[in-house]
C-alpha cells in the first residue's frame, strides 16, 4: 500500500449495532486507504457494509472501534462533534435522490445551504450568483431550476442537484453512495460524466460505492470488494477485473448481465452464483463466504483468512491461495 499522499485512511474500523434481535456486525475490522485524486471503489451486495462504511467516514455513525484518518487527522467522531473545517472538506451524495433533497425547499435553497452554513458568501446576490454557477457546472440551467422544488424534477436532475450541493464548498473528498443506482442507464451516463469532469476540475478524491460491477470498471482506479462486513479482495481496477482471485469476486463477476461477447469472455467460468447472504447478526464462523464457496475446505469454516499479496498491489484474503 503506497504511503504517498493518502487523503483518507481507514484502520481496523468496526461498527456494531445493538438491536432487539442481537448485535448486527455491519462493519467488522476493515482497513483501506484512498489516495489523493483517485476514485476508490467499494463494491458489494446487500448486507456487505459498504454503505455503512461510507456513513462512518462521514460521521453519520460513530465507529465502535478503529480509526478514520482524514488528511492525517483523526476524525473518528460523530459528525456533530467534528470541527467545521472538516465538514467543509468532506461531503456525500446519497443513494436515493428523492429523499436526499428536502421536498419543501427550492433547488436554489438546497444548493445554497452549504454556502450559508460555512459563511462563504456575503450577500444574497452573491449567493444567487454562486448557486447559479454551481447549477451550471452540473448542467442544470439556473433559469429553469433555481426556483423549482425537488418534486418537479426527474431523478437525474435531483441527483445533479445533490452533486451541486456536495461540491458547493469545494471539498477535497466526496463519498458517492450508489449515486446512479436509482437512475436510468442513459441518465446514469450523464451523471457519471459530470462526476468525472468535476473530479478533474476540482481535484477531488472519490469513494465510489456501488454494486454495479460494469459501472465500477469504468470509474474506479482501485477496487475493494466487501462481503458481510469484511473486505476480501482489493486491487487496481484492471487486475481486479481481469484476474479476480477471491471466489466471491468471481461469483459476482460471473453474475453480471453483459451485452457483448468480449464481456462474456471476461467472466470467470469456475464459480456460478449460489445461495444467499447470511445474516450479519450471526455471520458464519471462519471465512464468512464459506457456505457459498465451491472451494471451501475445513480450515475455511474455522479460521478467518488473512490478507496476502498475490501480485503487486493486489491483496486477497482466502485460504485457497
Amino acid at each position: 500500500m503506497g504511503e504517498t499522499d493518502n487523503i483518507l485512511v481507514v484502520e481496523n474500523l468496526k461498527k456494531y449495532f445493538k438491536t432487539t434481535f442481537g448485535t448486527v456486525k455491519a462493519v467488522d475490522d476493515i482497513t483501506f486507504n484512498v489516495r489523493s485524486g483517485e476514485t476508490f471503489g467499494l463494491v458489494g451486495e446487500s448486507g456487505s457494509g459498504k454503505s455503512t462504511t461510507g456513513y462512518l467516514i462521514m460521521g453519520i455513525y460513530t465507529p465502535t472501534s478503529g480509526k478514520i484518518l482524514f488528511k492525517g487527522r483523526d476524525v473518528s467522531l460523530h459528525v456533530l462533534k467534528r470541527p467545521k473545517n472538516i465538514k467543509k472538506d468532506m461531503s456525500i451524495v446519497f443513494q436515493d435522490p428523492a429523499s436526499s433533497l428536502n421536498p419543501s425547499k427550492t433547488i436554489g435553497d438546497i444548493v445554497g445551504l452549504p454556502l450559508k452554513v460555512h459563511g462563504l458568501i456575503n450577500s444574497s446576490s452573491e449567493l444567487i450568483e454562486k448557486v447559479a454557477q454551481l447549477l451550471e457546472t452540473v448542467e442544470l440551467s439556473p433559469e429553469r431550476f433555481m426556483h423549482r422544488r425537488p418534486g418537479d424534477l426527474g431523478g437525474g436532475e435531483k441527483q445533479a442537484t445533490a452533486i451541486a450541493r456536495a461540491i458547493a464548498t469545494h471539498p477535497s473528498f466526496v463519498v458517492l453512495d450508489e449515486p446512479t443506482s436509482a437512475l436510468d442507464v442513459s441518465i446514469q451516463a450523464k451523471i457519471i460524466k459530470i462526476l468525472m469532469q468535476l473530479q478533474q476540475e476540482l481535484k477531488l478524491s472519490y469513494l465510489f460505492i456501488t454494486h454495479d460491477l460494469s459501472l465500477m470498471r469504468n470509474v474506479a482506479s482501485r477496487v475493494a470488494i466487501m462481503y458481510l462486513a469484511k473486505i476480501y479482495e482489493y486491487a487496481p481496477a484492471r487486475l481486479f477485473f481481469h484476474n479476480p482471485l477471491h471466489p466471491y469476486t468471481k461469483m459476482l463477476l460471473s453474475s453480471v448481465p453483459v451485452l457483448t461477447d468480449e464481456e462474456e469472455a471476461l467472466k470467470p467460468r469456475d464459480v456460478k452464483s449460489t445461495g444467499e447472504v447470511s445474516s450479519a447478526i450471526n455471520p458464519p464462523p471462519g471465512c464468512r463466504f464459506h457456505p457459498r464457496c465451491p472451494f471451501a475446505t475445513k480450515i475455511c469454516k474455522v479460521k478467518e483468512p488473512k490478507f496476502t499479496m498475490a501480485e503487486p498491489e493486489h491483496y486477497v484474503a482466502c485460504h485457497k491461495l
Partner: protein
C-alpha cells in the same frame, strides 16, 4: 457574466405551481368545497355578528314578554323563534357562533406553537432523555379524559368562559406535540436531514428550517379539524354550566337553558344545537379536504 435578473419573473410560476395543483385537487371534491363555503360563512358570521344581527340588544339581559315563545318559521320578524324572554333565537345563535369561534381561535393560538415546538425537539432527539421527558409529560395529559380535566379545572376556578378556554388549552397541547413528534421523528433519519447535519448546519436550522416545513401539512389539517372539536368541548362545558354563564349567548348555554322547555318549545334547544352541528360538520369537511389535498 450572465444577468440573473430573469429570476424575478420566473419566480411567480414555479412557486405557485404546487398551490395550484393542490387547489385543483381540493376543488374536485364537492364535500370539501361545501365544507369550505360553510366554514367561511361561519367565520364571517363569527367575525361580524354584532353588526349584522337583527336584534343586537337581545344579547344580554332583555325582556319583551309580549314576543316570548314565538315558534320558528312563522314570521319574518323572528325567523327562528324567540326564547322565554322574547329574545330572538337567530340573533343569539349568531352571537353564539362568535363565542364559539373565539374560543377555538384562542385555544388553538395558545396551544399550537408550544405543542409543535416541543414535538419537534422531542422528535429530533428521539430516544434520548429529552424525548422521554417531553413525551411522557404529554402522555400524562393525554391519559386524563379531556372533559374530566376541563371539569376539574373549571370547578376549582371561577366558572367563566376565560377559564374554560384555559382548561381546554391545557389538555389540548399534547396532541400537537404527539402529532409533530410522530412526523418529525420519522423524518429525522431521512437523507436530507443527514445531509444538513453532515454539512454542518446548526440544530436550530435543522429543526425549524428543514424539518418543520414538512410537518406543516398534518398540523394544518389537525388545526382545521380541531376547530370543530374545541367548539364541541367548549359547548359541552357551557352545557354543564362551567363555561359561559347566562345571559351570554353561547350555543352550549342556550342548549342547556332550552332543555327545560323541551319538548313543547323545542326550538330553544334545537336551533343552537343545530348551529353546533353545522359548525362542526363544516370544519370537519374542510379538514378532510385539507388532508386529502396535502396527501399525494
Amino acid at each position: 457574466m450572465k444577468k440573473i435578473r430573469v429570476f424575478k419573473t420566473i419566480k411567480q410560476s414555479p412557486r405557485w405551481e404546487s398551490a395550484r395543483r393542490m387547489w385543483y385537487k381540493f376543488s374536485r371534491s364537492p364535500l370539501s368545497m361545501a365544507g369550505l363555503v360553510i366554514s367561511a360563512a361561519c367565520i364571517f358570521i363569527g367575525l361580524f355578528a354584532p353588526y349584522i344581527v337583527p336584534y343586537p340588544e337581545h344579547a344580554g339581559y332583555f325582556s319583551n314578554y309580549a314576543d316570548a315563545f314565538i315558534s320558528p318559521f312563522q314570521n319574518s320578524k323572528y325567523p327562528f323563534g324567540t326564547d322565554e324572554y322574547g329574545r330572538d333565537i337567530l340573533t343569539r345563535a349568531m352571537l353564539g357562533f362568535q363565542y364559539s369561534l373565539m374560543m377555538a381561535g384562542v385555544v388553538l393560538s395558545l396551544v399550537v406553537a408550544p405543542g409543535v415546538i416541543l414535538g419537534l425537539i422531542a422528535g429530533y432527539h428521539k430516544d434520548r432523555w429529552i424525548d422521554m421527558v417531553i413525551m411522557r409529560i404529554s402522555d400524562v395529559f393525554i391519559a386524563v379524559p379531556p372533559l374530566v380535566l376541563a371539569l376539574s379545572i373549571c370547578a376549582v376556578l371561577e366558572p367563566n368562559i376565560f377559564n374554560a378556554m384555559m382548561a381546554v388549552s391545557l389538555m389540548w397541547w399534547p396532541w400537537y406535540a404527539r402529532l409533530t413528534y410522530n412526523v418529525s421523528s420519522a423524518m429525522r433519519n431521512e437523507y436530507f436531514v443527514q445531509a444538513a447535519e453532515v454539512m454542518g448546519a446548526s440544530t436550530f436550522h435543522i429543526i425549524f428550517k428543514e424539518i418543520l416545513p414538512n410537518c406543516l401539512g398534518p398540523i394544518l389539517t389537525k388545526v382545521t379539524l380541531d376547530v370543530g372539536w374545541v367548539i364541541l368541548i367548549g359547548s359541552a362545558l357551557s352545557f354543564v354550566g362551567l363555561g359561559a354563564q347566562p345571559p351570554t349567548p353561547d350555543l352550549g348555554t342556550m342548549v342547556a337553558d332550552g332543555g327545560k322547555w323541551m319538548p313543547d318549545f323545542w326550538w330553544m334547544s334545537m336551533i343552537p344545537a343545530l348551529g353546533i352541528a353545522i359548525i362542526i360538520l363544516a370544519f370537519n369537511l374542510l379538514g378532510d379536504g385539507v388532508r386529502d389535498m396535502l396527501t399525494e
